[in-house]
């Protein structure tokens, strides 16, 4: 525990979080000879070590992990890292750049202090001119309020606590949410022999491979992932978009609602309420699927246009389209949660960052930090890194934090110069 006796240490920049984003910033600051420390609550890549399920592989291929001063040099560029491989990769980055890291240091508060910031941790205080918040985008599972209305006797679990199907009762499972997490967990749990129903709201369907290449390759090559936050029409909306329905598997298979239905997963509308022990589902399932199919069609159209314009048509496979999502004519609108069929509910309803330790008034009414591409203008010298569409569509990817760190470290350096 902190005591009044522990000395206050001083540095120019405190980076909070020792994952890919914090390390990328560390590299950029080292290049600029800016004195800094990286505070990590656990070990390097803590979230990857402790808050992800056992079978998870990254949704981006190995080659797509270009960090400043580091990258993939193995012999399987198209594969997807397992969690141990991801941890080893980020750990390797921390070693390669000799990041000035303080591990097992939990930040308990960040406050303004004499033109800079005071960062309080469970092992002492740091005074700094500038602070970089790189503690992750997915610290807390979003669980809907109707969790409280679920009858006792049904276990509920979030993806942060989920490790494998063995944790769950042998009975039926309702997976709520059909983005990357929900579809992957539905697939794994159904294959474990448990009957899965997946509740489907807004989601984005995407093929793993398109015209013989990884979808991420297309989005990277065509510049989709480099699209900037100040170029998109509605950045608030873009930041809230659900994750693509992708999975990183050894067979590079497409994971979508059709593939789930093919192994016996039942599709049901968005969970809209729980009342008197009965779950109520929206009648909007067919439109949710239609919206997603249309959106995917537009993405593939734009890829085809780009491929033609760039003379790739002879190199890659011919364009193809996926079969429309099959939805039964009248999917059920209700489910009796008391009849014993469902034993577990998995809330795959998204994640949010945890900035509860930030004692500086920079939050909007939804509790999110107000920022302009990672520059927290209301708190000069404060920067945010590693969240969805911070500065680019790829910002939350391992491959995306480097460019953001370069931009923001330039701003940070200019701020220090100007303030000096």
């Amino acid at each position: 525990m902190p005591s009044g006796a522990s000395p206050v240490r001083t540095t120019t920049t405190v980076i909070i979080g020792g994952g890919q984003a914090g390390l990328a910033m560390s590299w950029c600051l080292t290049k600029r000879a800016i004195d800094h420390v990286v505070l990590e609550r656990g070990e390097v890549a803590h979230t990857w070590r402790t808050e992800r399920w056992d079978s998870l592989r990254l949704l981006t291929p190995n080659w797509q992990s270009r960090l400043p001063g580091y990258g993939y040099d193995g012999d399987d560029p198209d594969g997807y890292r397992s969690m141990p491989e991801t941890i080893e990769f980020i750990d390797g980055y921390a070693r390669a750049i000799s990041a000035p890291m303080e591990t097992h240091t939990n930040v308990t508060s960040v406050q303004r202090d004499d033109g800079g910031y005071m960062v309080t941790t469970d092992s002492g205080k740091w005074r700094c001119r500038t602070v970089v918040l790189a503690s992750g985008a997915c610290n807390i599972a979003r669980v809907p309020a109707l969790d409280e209305a679920v009858p006792a006797g049904i276990a509920r679990i979030s993806p942060i606590d989920y490790r494998s199907p063995d944790q769950l009762d042998r009975g039926g499972v309702l997976v709520v949410g059909a983005s990357a997490t929900g579809t992957q967990l539905a697939d794994e749990i159904q294959r474990s022999g448990r009957a899965v129903t997946i509740s489907v709201g807004e989601h984005i369907r995407a093929p793993r491979l398109y015209r013989g290449r990884d979808l991420e390759w297309w989005m990277d090559a065509a510049g989709v992932l480099d699209e900037r936050y100040d170029e998109v029409e509605d950045i608030q909306r873009a930041r809230k978009l659900p994750s693509l329905q992708l999975a990183g598997t050894t067979d590079r298979a497409t994971l979508d609602l059709n593939s789930l239905a093919a192994i016996g997963v039942k599709l049901i509308g968005r969970l809209a309420g729980v009342h008197d022990g009965k779950a109520q589902f929206s009648g909007s399932l067919s439109n949710q699927c239609a919206l997603s199919d249309l959106k995917m069609g537009r993405l593939l159209d734009s890829i085809d246009e780009w491929a033609s314009a760039n003379g790739l048509d002879g190199e890659v496979e011919a364009p193809h389209r996926l079969a429309p999502t099959k939805v039964e004519e009248s999917p059920p609108l209700g489910m009796d949660l008391g009849n014993g069929e469902i034993k577990t509910i998995v809330w795959a309803t998204g994640y949010r960052p945890d900035h509860s330790w930030l004692d500086v008034p920079v939050f909007d009414r939804k509790g999110q930090i107000r920022h302009d591409g990672g520059i927290v203008s209301e708190a000069p010298g404060m920067y945010l890194l590693g969240i969805q569409f911070l500065r680019r569509r790829k910002s939350a990817l391992i491959d995306g934090c480097g460019d953001d760190a370069r931009d923001l470290s330039a701003h940070l350096a200019a701020y220090l110069d100007g303030a000096a």
């Binding site: 807004e202 509308g269 968005r270 809209a272 309420g273 009342h275 109520q280 929206s282 009648g283 909007s284 439109n287 239609a290 919206l291 249309l294 069609g297 537009r298 009248s330 009414r365």
Partner: protein
Amino acid sequence: MSESEISVDNGVNVQALLDARVALADAPEAAQFQWRASCEWKNGTHSHSIVEGYFGLGEQHMHKSVFKFDADHPEVFASEDKGATPVEYVLVGLASCLTAGIAAVAQNRDIQLRSVIATLEGGMDIQGILGMDSDIRNGFDGIKVSYKIDADASQKDIEALVAQSQKRSAVYDIVTNPTNVTVEVN
């Protein structure tokens, strides 16, 4: 400004809607609206409803005129058929909401509409409302909406218009999702 923004005119002031989004982001309390109707029984299954005032943007408003609606049941129900049935008003509400949405989304996407026609069918097994079988619900067992749209756009773009309109429709949401209803007697 592109040329199409000048030439496409579906009669929807999209700029005003976009401006409203910006203004309401800074003053979310002004986004709180209350819609009202009142209804008076006439005779038999015939009732007379009016829609007159509503609340929004922090103040009371009046419609430009009082809108009146007669509802009744048809003669096969041994009623006098002095108005559409209440469930047909639900279809009217859904159709007009989706259609308004199509016009707004089309305007925003620079799509000129020439004609938009919806036909709606709500299926119902009246054993439910007659109390003959508790397994049969009172309401529709499903609603089918079918659009015929003539517009300067591809079939895919028209499908996207209709899908987006459902995504943003109040009545579609009311019909597809449960809503708490509180009825009290004064």
